[in-house]
Each structure stands twice: as C-alpha cells, then as structure tokens.
Symmetry: C2
Subunit: 253 residues, 2 copies
Amino acid sequence: MLSKSKIKLIQSLNLKKNRDESGVFLVEGNKMVEEAIRSGFEIEFLACTSGFAAQHPEIGRRANDWVETDSETISKASLLKNPQEALAIVVQQKDLTPEINPENELCLALDFIQDPGNLGTILRIADWFGISQVVCSENTVDVFNPKVVQASMGSIFRIKTGITELSGFIKNAATKEIPVYGTFLEGKNIYHESLTSNGIIVLGNEGNGISEPISRLISHKLLIPTFSTNENKPESLNVAVAAAICCSEFRRK
Amino acid sequence: MLSKSKIKLIQSLNLKKNRDESGVFLVEGNKMVEEAIRSGFEIEFLACTSGFAAQHPEIGRRANDWVETDSETISKASLLKNPQEALAIVVQQKDLTPEINPENELCLALDFIQDPGNLGTILRIADWFGISQVVCSENTVDVFNPKVVQASMGSIFRIKTGITELSGFIKNAATKEIPVYGTFLEGKNIYHESLTSNGIIVLGNEGNGISEPISRLISHKLLIPTFSTNENKPESLNVAVAAAICCSEFRRK
C-alpha cells in the first residue's frame, strides 16, 4: 500500500521548490514509467498495480524502493486527470551544462520558454531529430515540471539538459566561432540557407520571441517564410512548431 | 454593464451542445477580438473596456450589439485564467465542407484529433503555410471549442473548416485521382518524395495515428524519418509537429 506520507510527497513534487529541495521528479503513466525503467535514471520509488509489476520483473532491480497497490490508490496520489497503473519518483540528472558542447553537435538553447507543454514537445522534437543537447535559460520553465515530463513522452530520459546564464553560454561559443542560429521575421529564408551540423539553435519566448540581449549574439538570422496569400497574415508560429521546422531543415540538409 | 444573463450565456459557450444550439462561439482576449473585428465573421455581441473601445472605433459598425464595461466584469464572465479587456460572441461560419476542394489546392483532413490545443495549433500552421482548407472527421474536437479558438491565434477566422464523414470525402477525391497523403512508420521518406500542390494531407489521432479505414484510402504513404541514434528511439512526433513538417515540405518543394 501507499502510505499517506508517500502520497503527500508525490503530490508535493508538483512544485519546483519541492523538486529542487529533494532533487527528484515525478513520472506518471504506464508508458512513461516504462521509459524510466529502460533509462539510466535512478528510480527512488515506484508504485504500480500487480498487473504492471507482473509485466516488468526488472522493477525490483531498477527501483530503490517499490510497492504494489491498486489503481484507486494511484489515482489518489496522481496529478493526472486520467491516472494509470504506475508512477515513479526519479532522481534528477545533475545540471549537464558544462557537458553540453555545441562545437561538434547541434544544441538547442531555450530563451525563456514559459509553457510546460511547449518545453516537453521541444524535448520530443529534439529527440526525434537526434539533437541530444538542450540548454535552458534560468527563466525557462523547469524541465522536471510534471507537465514537461509528460509532454516529452519519454524524451526527458534521452536528452541532456542543463540550465545556464544563456548569454554567457552563447558568448563562449561565439569565441570558438560556433554558429548561433535563431528565427526572426527579418532573417534569411531557412529553405535556401546552408546549415551546419554543429552549433546552437536559439528558440525564444512564446509571446516575445528571442530577447534583445540574446538577439545581438545570433550570428545567423533565419526566417521560416509564410506562404499565406491572405491580406491579413498570421503573425507567427508556435515556438514548438518553429523548433520542429528548424530541426527538420537542419537534418534534411 | 454586462447583465447576469449575458454572463451566463457567455459561460455556456464552453459546452459544444450550447454552441451547436446557438450557432455562435466565444472569442476572448484583445488580440483575438481584434482578429474577429478584422475578419468577415458576424459579431453578435462584444464586451470591452473603454480603453479597448477607444482604440477600435469600428466596433459599433462591426458588432450587432456591444457594451463598455470594466475589466473585473469581463473577468467574471471569462473562461480564461488571465482575462483581458475584450470578449466577443461570434457567429459560426456554416459548415463549408461542400466548398472544400482538394482538386486545385492542398487541404488538411483531420482524422479524430482529440486535443483542442493541437487542433488550434494545426489551424495556425495551415494558415502560415497558405493552406486555407481544413476538413474534420465527425469525431474530431469542435473547431469552435474556446481552447481551439484561442490556440489558433486568429487563424480560425482565415481558414475554411468543415465537418464531414471523412472516408466518403476521401473516396470522392480518389475517384478524381486527387492524391491523398498521410504519414506512417512504413511510409516513404518525405524529404525524397515529390509532393504536389494539390491533394489531401491526412493527420491522425494523438494516440493511434490514422484510423484503419482511412489508412486504406491513402495513396501516398510518407515517413518523417527519425535521426535519433539512441538505442531506445522515440516512438512518434506530436500530431501538430508532424503537420508542421508536412506543410513545410509541401510548400518548400
């Protein structure tokens, strides 16, 4: 069974403060917990139904501590609208910023992404396009936010993420002549530019785009052109959509 | 001021049943209401602050009925977490399915899209890429759902949408030899295929992809290849992300 104090701990992980203090995060749902088990992340605690346990004999080896319980109890602890048969408390990977290196590989840099759904979707896109490094500005939403984790569909376990003071990170790259890309309305048509297999692709805030100080550090301004012939044209694309089109173009070429 | 019965009417538009009965939908926020004013849609009612009214002298001409009120009253009526200075009740455009014609233009066909955020984002993508026709299966979320409307960022006013029995619609197109595209794990690499400037691009359900009966009607199966070199590869892309990459590829070529 799941103790009251454990349920309280699980629910407390909805808040960043509590995640920061404990250094763990919450993973929910059968598929996501399976991804956690398959990953190299340390699983501090796991709760699941007997059915889920029977399908995953490796749980005992992978989790430091675990219990079998019924789905009603999991529902009680869950932050999801439609809880499933398993949840897990997983240890956060330490900040990997020093390891993230855009010299030989592509790296995404997130400049104040606010929406957890967007961040999770961006991790999933990076994973699909074989971009294993994502660095976040200090004001970007926490990658271990439960909504980010769920929207990443398991990609959180495969992507190296780090938090850093973004302008310093980019300036440092610029001194090594690493290309720094970003999309702007006054940029050059992404379909016609030659794109490298290393460097930094900066993605900006949902409402305001890339911030002024970071804009000045972009060496290659790109444009995803609109094909609208409407008099009243759309103003922008969603940031995860722009990320997808950028990643697709970088990889296609 | 905003009467109690008007507030009740506004809030009732959260439910499809009420939208269907009244034939109207709710538009919220300054930018979205501005888009409604600029559009050709009939505005049945508009409520805004005096500040918003001063900036939009055309309101009297555009709205059948309107009131000036304070932002607190708008908050009371609003379905948004962060209400702004204006909201409007707008008349739904009639079902445009008979008008939607994939013979000369591209058209998106949505096969059981469930998430309103995804549908709104897909409308925004279609708009950006100059695809003005989107046809929805009967089990796709309602395009006039307030969350769809908000996520579309105004594109709802520029895209022709219709609801139809999808397999009939596609079969009819097939008899005219109109190409029908969809993405599948066993499809051909989208980056290498030649793509037409007309036809139907089918997008499938978030969890299950394109349904079995619709799959059989797809004449051109495409694949967005993964570039992941991870042993444990991501399974799929979010449907709006897949839509973005498809639209980008069709327009680029």
